[in-house]
């Protein structure tokens, strides 16, 4: 998929590009609004990651512009301005999602994937983890025909780990994904540990769950099948 990264902070743009390339995206960079509007006019993109804080351009105008030439593109706004209205205005203009800086790269990826699934009507296939089956569509975890009774938070946590299978997710990344930014000041790595502990207890009462790994000093990971 083609992604245009519109971001005036060059080192951030290149980091995002490096990360997305590793995930098999084709990345194009624009460091100014003018550059971005030229590229949007010539090329076709699946995604435009748009920083609203461009020095030469109102980022929101770019969305309007792109609607004409790149009607298929999805927009994800990334901004450090932190304005409450920006989010509303952006989403009203047809942006597909909004991410406040600083964000986890893995979170950006999962937002891109979520938008893509919505856009192409992709159905998340069920995921098999040994004896467990995660039915992503119906938000259920089944073990040998029985549903595992999970709280909403526990399910969200497990699904985020499952969707990013094979990657280590830090407690902070997990926390931000589940609780968002509003409770930022209350961040406590213990939160995630407690939820994982409860989750494991529930899983193990049905069947062993060695696939849910603790990566010492870093975070958690769901291992990929051999």
């Amino acid at each position: 998929m083609n992604v245009l990264i519109v971001e005036d902070e060059k080192s951030l743009a290149t980091e995002i590009a490096e990360f997305l390339k590793a995930e098999n995206f084709l990345c194009d960079l624009a460091f100014t609004g003018t550059e971005a509007s030229e590229k949007i006019a010539i090329n076709l993109y699946d995604f435009v990651l748009l920083d609203l804080g461009l020095p030469d351009h109102d980022g929101l105008d770019l969305i309007k512009e792109a609607r004409k030439t790149n009607s298929e593109a999805s927009f994800i706004i990334i901004t450090a301005r932190g304005e409450v209205e920006d989010k509303v205005r952006g989403l009203n203009l047809g942006a597909d999602d909004y991410l406040a800086k600083p964000f986890a790269l893995i979170e950006l990826l999962s937002r891109i994937n979520a938008v893509a699934r919505r856009k192409f009507n992709l159905v998340n296939p069920d995921v098999v983890l040994d004896d467990f089956i995660m039915q992503v569509q119906s938000r259920k975890l089944i073990c040998k025909g029985n549903e595992v009774d999970l709280t909403k938070k526990e399910y969200d946590l497990l699904q985020y780990l499952v969707l990013n299978r094979g990657k280590v997710l830090t407690r902070q990344q997990l926390y931000e994904h589940i609780w968002g930014n509003i409770l930022d000041d209350q961040y406590d790595s213990n939160f995630i540990d407690v939820h994982i502990k409860n989750l494991r207890k529930k899983l193990n009462s049905h069947a062993p769950s060695p696939w849910l790994e603790t990566v010492r000093g870093v975070g958690y990971r769901i291992s990929t099948p051999e």
Binding site: S11, L12, E15, G82, L105, D185, K197
Partner: protein, 439 residues
């Protein structure tokens, strides 16, 4: 009391007072007017009689051989004229009220007495008029006046009230404009239509004040936007770089741990910046207070959120949510944050087997939410710095910014919620949130 009612009542009262004075004075006035009229009549009659006598002489009335007096009165004895021969003496000419006995009936008369000479003799002419008719006229006039005045008062009261209402309508509009909004930025800047210059000036002054306040908020907002951008962009760059490094598969365990440590530290910085920006944004009114929601619903959500943590620490969360309250004109996610921060703080500061109690109680004219714990409590000194932004409550903790309670206080102030804390070292702490009555 509303201004228009006050004005109308004052008008009514002043009219009533004037009417009462007028009605009290009226008998005198009427009497004076009547007496003057009667006196005029009497003098007219006297002139007629005198001119009659000078024309036809005194003979037809009084002859020298017959009686000395002549008297004439009409059948209802309302008027009389009498002539009497008197011995010469002082000239008589006066009008007075006297009782006269006529055919065994005593009647009050206004009598004009006048002496004159005719044919060498002195005569006394008396012309009288009964006062009975005067009293009747006075009564009639009074009754008519009373009915008339009551009618006038009613009519003017209604018209006064209506006119005052019309006159004060622009003020009602200005008042409504102020009442409707929860924030200066929502103030309707279109001028109120009126020809009353006072209201025009009031409206203008208000609009100027509001746009001044909005300008100040706007400036503050721009500052927070700039600070936000300047501080969070470098954090964002660092974070992405470190995360990318962490994704490398050839990483040494030791290096991996170091990078994870750096990410944690970076996250503390990010949290602190975000927290301070949150406070700045609340204080510069960048959040709207437009939501309506149930208070107990929020408290229950928070209990569900925090329960796993509390259970893990062996702490009971008890709820006594007896009355439910509907909060209006507030920001739901901020109120959620406020209670979340306080409940979370209570859970963190309570030892195992302790208890955190969340209560909502209706009190006359206000809503009170209490969050109490059986934790270690605070000294007076700790209590005083509880809500300050840069005092770390828990120095051992490497996580959290210790700014949660300062945020809670800022949110409370933004919503005019009164927060009070009572605490006893070793026994526990109690936070009370008193919502204003109109919430």
């Amino acid at each position: 009391m509303r201004l228009k009612i006050k004005l109308s009542l004052f008008n009514l009262l002043s009219k009533l007072v004037f009417t009462a004075i007028f009605l009290l004075l009226m008998p005198f006035i009427i009497e004076r007017i009547n007496l003057r009229q009667v006196d005029h009549d009497l003098i007219d009659k006297r002139e007629q009689v005198i001119s009659l006598i000078s024309e036809i002489g005194i003979e037809p009335f009084i002859t020298s051989d017959s009686s000395d007096t002549f008297g004439s009165y009409n059948i209802l004895k309302e008027e009389f004229i009498s002539l009497e021969r008197i011995s010469p003496g002082e000239e008589i000419n006066y009008i007075e009220v006297t009782s006269r006995l006529i055919e065994g009936e005593e009647i009050d008369y206004r009598i004009l007495s006048y002496s004159f000479e005719a044919d060498g003799q002195t005569y006394l002419l008396e012309v009288g008029k009964s006062l009975q008719s005067i009293v009747h006229t006075g009564k009639n006039i009074r009754q008519v006046m009373l009915v008339f005045l009551v009618f006038i008062i009613l009519i003017t009261f209604v018209s006064d009230y209506q006119y005052t209402r019309l006159l004060l309508r622009p003020m009602d509009k200005i008042k409504n404009k102020l009442n409707r909004i929860s924030d200066p930025s929502l103030f309707d800047m279109s001028p109120v239509k009126t020809t009353t210059s006072d209201f025009v000036r009031l409206d203008k002054a208000l609009r100027e004040l509001m746009s001044h306040i909005n300008e100040l908020f706007q400036k503050e907002k721009e500052i927070t936007v700039n600070i936000s951008h300047e501080l969070l962009t470098p954090v964002s760059v660092l974070r992405s770089k470190l995360e990318n490094v962490l994704l490398r598969e050839d990483l040494d365990r030791e290096v991996e741990a170091k990078i994870e440590e750096s990410l944690k530290t970076l996250h503390r910085l990010q949290s602190l910046v975000n927290s301070l920006l949150l406070i700045a944004r609340i204080e510069s009114h960048q959040y709207l207070r437009e939501d309506s929601f149930s208070l107990n619903e929020i408290l229950r959500e928070i209990i569900i959120e925090i329960s796993p943590m509390a259970e893990d620490g062996g702490i009971m969360i008890e709820e006594e949510l007896t009355d439910d309250f509907h909060i209006r004109k507030a920001n739901r996610s901020l109120i959620f944050s406020m209670f979340y921060n306080v409940v979370n703080n209570a859970v963190k500061n309570t030892p195992p087997n302790g208890e955190v109690l969340i209560k909502s109680v209706r009190q006359p004219n206000m809503i009170n939410v209490e969050i109490s714990d059986t934790g270690k409590g605070m000294t007076e000194g700790q209590k005083n710095t509880l809500f300050s932004r840069f005092k770390m409550k828990n120095k051992d903790s490497s996580e959290g910014t210790g700014i949660g309670l300062a945020i809670a206080k800022t949110i409370a102030d933004f919503h005019n919620i009164e927060v009070s804390v009572s605490s006893e070292p070793g026994k526990g702490t109690k936070f009370s949130f008193i919502f204003p009555g109109n919430s």
